[in-house]
Amino acid sequence: MKFLEAFYSKVFVNIVANKEGLDVSVEVYAKKVQVSGYEKSFSEIDESMLDFIESYTSESPYYYISVLDSSSTQGAIPTCLKNRLSYYQDVSDCEYKCHDSKWTYYTSKTNLYDMEKKYKRVGIDFIFSPFSVLAHFFKDKLEGQTSLYLLIEDYYISVGVFADMQLLYAEHLNISDYRENEELYIVNDEQDDGLELELDDSIDLEGINAIDDMDSLDSLDDFGDIEDLDSLEDIDEFSDTQDIEEEFNQEQEEELVMNAHSSSSDDYKRFFLIQNSINAFYKDDKYESEFIDNVYVADAVGVSLDMKRYFEEEMFMNVYIRRIVLGDALLELAKEELSV
């Protein structure tokens, strides 16, 4: 009966949960060519949503419904070796898949059952990990130096650090985990550290005869060279790690970023959680920590320019933001799975 498949069109239904409800996009393909596409948003899984989906899925028996894994207990591990998985994460109650024999993404089995139960009336064929979406979306950027890749959704952030296609670190963050007290605590903590540093590094005035020592004045003249750092050439040297191609693309994306839907406070929460995650990556001995220069953001919500500013000013990173339509990203994965 496989030959009959050629006579039918393929209908891809992509369901993405967001804070407004559910975005459903439908793409109809006939012989690997897109014939039509439809989109509609629903507040919940109700009759109208079922009718909308059924009106297209009834056209062909070959329809595939994809959803993005929106559970909290998921993540990715920088190895595919089964005996090494437990070193990073207990995956005994998890479903996991190896990506390209390089790294593993996982999710809790309970969450999968919950999702299948949640979409029981619709029926689902694919559940994709946001880390798969992230890796697929930035597949042209994963090669090369160590960079941070982010998939920003309404409630979740998928954080991945990749170097030469190899995942080094990953974390799935829930924005609701953000607590202001924690922020204050950490900020205070950081301030304390700063104070300690200042104390530790404070100059022992007793040992210096500042005014009398002419040699020291001579040496002060050398500080005049610091002004040269502001010259354009030096700035260029600093920007060696910048992604020129992505910079160019950014100019085109700029308008999209300007039409941001996300509030600045949400973006700060996101930045704060990401910053913590990066700190964890640097500090945790389990991971091969390498210095991160660039941040690639797959923006599904429309983050504000503040987000970019936070990264640039507080972490001195080059930030490149690309808009991502999650429905389209799910479609691409589903197509690749079915070799369409």
């Binding site: 006579f7 039918y8 070959y62 329809y63 689902i124 694919f126 994709f128 690749e336 799975e337």
Partner: protein, 180 residues
């Protein structure tokens, strides 16, 4: 490449509607096939029967022609038999008549009936008895009559009477009789 945590549900082009359609078409095709096979069988049978009948017909025709020829032969035989019977009855009558012609005093020893002739051998007491009692009626029947005598030894005479009919004269007489 596999990305999804779950495998897609099994898809089949055979929906209940298509299944119904296939079943319907299947039954229809099956019935058509059975009908076609039945007609083929009947056709084959019919051709076989036709050949047999043609063969039988040929045999019957052959028999018929043989029988016709036999009937013709039998008819001819019948005609011949009737002719022979007629001739025999005529001959029988002739012989009866002939013996009726022979008087008591004359004894016949041999009589030969030929196509156009009658030859009689016998004993007569004398020529006169023969001439009056036998030769006279013979002459009325035959066109030509020849008699010869020779002595028998006891005073009687042996005679040989040879009588001929003229065919042409007989035909003419018959024609005249028919005309009358």
């Amino acid at each position: 490449m596999i990305y999804s945590y779950i495998r897609p549900r099994k898809k089949s082009a055979v929906t209940p509607e298509v299944k119904l359609l296939f079943t319907f078409f299947g039954i229809t095709l099956l019935m058509l096939f059975i009908t076609y096979a039945f007609l083929l069988y009947k056709d084959y049978n019919f051709v076989n029967d036709l050949n047999l009948i043609a063969q039988k017909n040929a045999v019957v025709n052959q028999n018929l022609s043989e029988m016709k020829s036999q009937i013709e032969f039998i008819e001819k035989e019948n005609v011949l038999a009737q002719k022979i019977q007629t001739k025999n009855s005529v001959l029988k009558d002739s012989i009866t008549n002939l013996f009726d012609l022979v008087p008591q005093s004359i004894t016949l020893s041999q009589a030969q009936l030929q196509q156009n002739a009658l030859i009689l051998h016998g004993l007569t007491p004398n020529k006169d008895v023969y001439s009056f009692m036998l030769q006279a009626p013979l002459r009325s029947i035959f066109h030509k009559t020849y008699s010869s005598f020779y002595p028998a030894g006891d005073g009687w005479l042996r005679f040989v009477s040879t009588n001929y009919t003229d065919e042409e004269a007989t035909i003419k007489e018959e024609v005249i009789e028919n005309e009358n």
